[in-house]
């Protein structure tokens, strides 16, 4: 009797070793992030990832910022019902199948479909501090990740067109050249400097509209403020971070 019991316990222990898997272990047929990065453009990919944020649902499609412990995936215009959109809260684990594509330097999954992986432990990324990578080629390695920029100084927003450079004197603009307006769906643009260089940041309206804290925070910025920023490292012909939080810089 004791022998049988011991054997049973041993068998259970062995089985439990197989059953124990990290929260991020991919299911069969699913790529690792490394495999996704290595995949050719215009090829079919399947990944499992965690929703971090989404742009507003529209026309049976949704755009998702997703990430897991190994890296990020930007899911552009995945097929999605209004009902499912409500379920895609931050931390939700999904399996996405689509086509790997690149548009203006932004690597993304297009024509995607997804299924929510029920009963998965939620996972939300912490912002990786990439302040020192601003302006460096290595910043691209963090494309689409949730990142932070710390201790930046808000500059007067300046844009350039055929008439030259226009210094608005303001801390932000509605639209890249001030062509938007309050009360519209205009993105907010602002500039901040660190280490002697100035960079442009965006509050993407369909990610964070006028009802969000960050939209209001940016509208209340003053030139000279020193701030910490968080957001998703979107790419459009270069780094184009979509900012989701602005706060006074933490004291060192």
């Amino acid at each position: 009797m004791k022998k049988i019991f011991t054997l049973l316990l041993a068998a259970l222990m062995v089985m439990s070793l197989f059953a124990c898997a990290s929260a991020n272990e991919e299911s069969e047929g699913v790529m690792t992030h490394e495999e996704y990065v290595a995949a050719e453009l215009d090829t079919e990919v399947t990944v499992e990832t965690y929703v971090q944020a989404n742009q507003s649902w529209w026309n049976d499609q949704i755009t998702l910022y997703t990430q897991d412990e190994d890296g990020a995936y930007f899911i552009y215009n995945a097929a999605c019902s209004a009902e499912d959109a409500e379920k895609l809260v931050p931390g939700t684990k999904i399996r996405v199948n689509g086509i790997k594509s690149e548009w203006s330097g932004e690597v993304e999954i297009i024509e995607g479909t997804f299924e929510i992986i029920e009963d998965a432990e939620p996972w939300v990324a912490e912002a990786a501090d990439v302040t020192e990578l601003l302006g460096a080629d290595e910043l691209a390695d963090h494309q689409n990740e949730f990142v932070a920029f710390k201790g930046l100084t808000i500059e007067s927003y300046t844009y350039t067109d055929g008439d030259g450079a226009h210094d608005t004197g303001a801390a932000f603009a509605y639209g890249w050249n001030g062509s938007g307006a309050e009360g519209t769906d205009a993105d907010l643009y602002f500039q901040a400097s660190v280490n002697g260089e100035t960079y442009t940041f965006t509050v993407e309206y369909y990610l964070c509209n006028e009802t969000t804290e960050v939209y209001e925070a940016v509208r209340n910025l003053n030139v000279g403020d020193v701030v910490d920023l968080e957001g998703f490292l979107y790419w459009y012909n270069g780094a184009n971070p979509h900012i989701t939080a602005v706060a006074p810089a933490a004291a060192e």
Binding site: S101, W103, G180, G183, D185, N237
Partner: protein, 532 residues
């Protein structure tokens, strides 16, 4: 008592008869006089090309109009995307909260017209002797009865009635890196043909074993990029004399010419010669970086094109020096060029208050005055839609100064406008009907799908095209009989709302009771006569 009861029943019947499920509005009755003592607030939904100057022109137009009509306040809401305006208008129709005036495409207006009298018919307003075009009581100098360029007005006529006015007009242009064409050993002809463009594009697609393109010494080259593939298909079919649709909405696009065009495009994609905006990005970004030879985009995107483009999304250090040529889109028959006419139009929404509608009409007309037309046309490769603005000395002087600076007189922009002025007679518009937007989307999507499939190393052959036709028909509902002339054919409204069902039932019951009562009365009288 019985008479009272009968009257009450009759009144109830009349009330019920007045209740119906229609959301239709009353057709406009043009007031004899515009009441300038009545405060009126108008909502204007405007589209701009993320162009600060365009916004300032709208703001000035509003201020100038309000100065003429102090009782009117115009509140503007800005959009940068036509589809967003369309979506918001559709949403607001059901709640009766549409704007007064809206910048829109005629295709979209056709859908708005599925509601009864939602969009105001303009023929009566245009012809009104007091407040119509050139009307005697206008406080501004607007275009006369025949003052709008007829080819531009044509797109605004739906089902024989005018439901919009053009605001600005543009066409598509092919912006060419002439320097690269000549370096490849070719000379640009007077008119670009499809054969020429494909041949040069394929020549530019040659690269060495390291993936470096001979044409530009870079690892990126998309020789021919098309911004709006719906226009690409529409123009190719028109140039070939092939079917797209009838004026009444019969779908003709799924034909052998379309098939041949798609299979041909597939071959050029396979050769690395072609891509689209949706797949690769803005043609301007590649053109300006020396990574594209032929970039097709609207003339209203001209300020983004060329080595010295005033506007750009790529860093300055990525620009390459080259000479930019501006051509009409490629042609199958260079002797008879055909190109699409496009651009923003304006429509006016019916309201209960006819003074409010008249005020909206006056504002809409004001946007056709020379100051507004010329100023806005100068912001991009647009042309004014009125003859008087086009021939105005100030506008002619502007055209003559092409190249004087790289901003207001940016030469590529002015040449793009001149292209449309020179070819106005070669432009065409597509039929507008309920569903024309879907057909247009399908036209472009077929090119997108073929291009993507080749890039994904899938087989594109006749079987593929057969399936593509089926998929497009299904996805865009092109096999439903919901087309027809806008404003005449009613859309399927779905099941009867519950309240309407209850009211109609009550109406039926009331008539039944009236009938029974009348029968009872008649029977009673008959009985009395028999007794007596």
């Amino acid at each position: 008592m019985k008479k009272l009861l009968a009257c009450a029943l009759l009144a109830a019947v009349l009330l019920l008869a007045g209740c119906h499920g229609s959301t239709g509005r009353q057709a406009l009755e043009i007031p004899e006089t515009f009441d300038e003592t009545k405060p009126i607030e108008l909502t204007f939904w405007a589209k701009n090309d993320t162009n600060r100057t365009q916004v300032e022109i709208y703001e000035k137009a509003i201020a100038d109009f309000e100065a003429l009509y102090p009782n009117v306040t115009v509140n503007m809401r800005l959009y940068t995307d036509y589809s967003r305006i369309y979506n918001d208008v559709i949403t607001n129709i059901s709640t009766n909260t549409t704007p007064n005036v809206c910048i829109s495409y005629p295709d979209h207006i056709a859908t708005y017209l599925t509601g009864s009298n939602v969009v105001a018919e303009l023929d009566g307003l245009m012809a009104d002797p007091n407040y119509g075009l050139g009307g005697g009581k206008l406080k501004f100098d607007g275009p006369g009865q025949d003052g709008i360029v007829s080819q531009f007005l044509a797109e605004c006529v739906l089902g024989g009635r005018t439901y919009a006015l053009p605001f600005m007009r543009s066409t598509e242009a092919c912006y060419v890196n002439r320097t690269m064409v000549e370096a490849l050993g070719y000379e640009l002809p007077d008119t670009l043909t499809w054969d020429f463009v494909w041949e040069v594009a394929e020549a530019a697609a040659a690269k060495d074993g390291d993936g470096v393109y001979a044409a530009n010494g870079q690892k990126v080259m998309i020789p021919f990029i098309y911004k709006s593939t719906d226009n690409m298909m529409i123009q190719m079919l028109r140039q070939k004399g092939a079917g797209y649709s009838t004026d009444g909405g019969e779908i003709l696009i799924f034909n052998d010419t379309t098939r041949a065009l798609l299979l041909d495009i597939a071959e050029h994609v396979r050769a690395g010669a072609f891509s689209t905006f949706k797949i690769s990005s803005y043609p301007a970004n590649f053109l300006n970086a020396g990574q594209c030879v032929f970039a097709v985009d609207s003339t209203a995107g001209a300020t983004w094109m060329g080595s010295s483009a005033p506007l750009s999304d790529i860093p300055a250090d990525q620009f390459v020096e080259f000479e930019t040529a501006v051509y009409p889109v490629p042609q199958f028959d260079p002797e008879h060029p055909q190109m699409i006419s496009q651009g923003p139009s304006m429509c006016l929404f019916n309201k209960k208050d006819s003074q409010e509608v008249l005020a909206s009409w006056l504002f809409m007309q004001f946007l056709l005055t020379n100051d507004v037309q010329i100023a806005y046309a100068e912001t991009e490769g647009y042309v004014p839609v009125t003859d008087r603005a086009q021939s105005d000395p100030a506008y002619q002087d502007y055209l003559a100064r092409a190249g004087q600076d790289k901003s207001l007189h940016y030469d590529v922009k002015i040449r793009a406008s001149q292209l449309l002025l020179d070819h106005t007679g070669d432009t065409f518009v597509t039929p507008v009907f309920n569903g024309s937007t879907s057909l247009r989307d399908a036209a472009g999507q077929m090119i997108e799908n073929v291009t993507k499939s080749i890039r994904r190393k899938q087989t594109v052959d006749d079987a593929y095209i057969d399936k593509l036709y089926d998929d497009m028909t299904s996805l865009y509902r092109l096999n439903q009989s919901g087309g027809g002339v806008a404003g005449v054919t009613r859309a399927d409204l779905g099941p009867l709302p519950a309240t309407a069902a209850i009211l109609l039932s009550a109406l039926g019951v009331t008539w039944l009771l009236i009938g029974l009562y009348a029968l009872k009365q008649a029977a009673g009288k008959k009985k009395n006569r028999k007794i007596t």
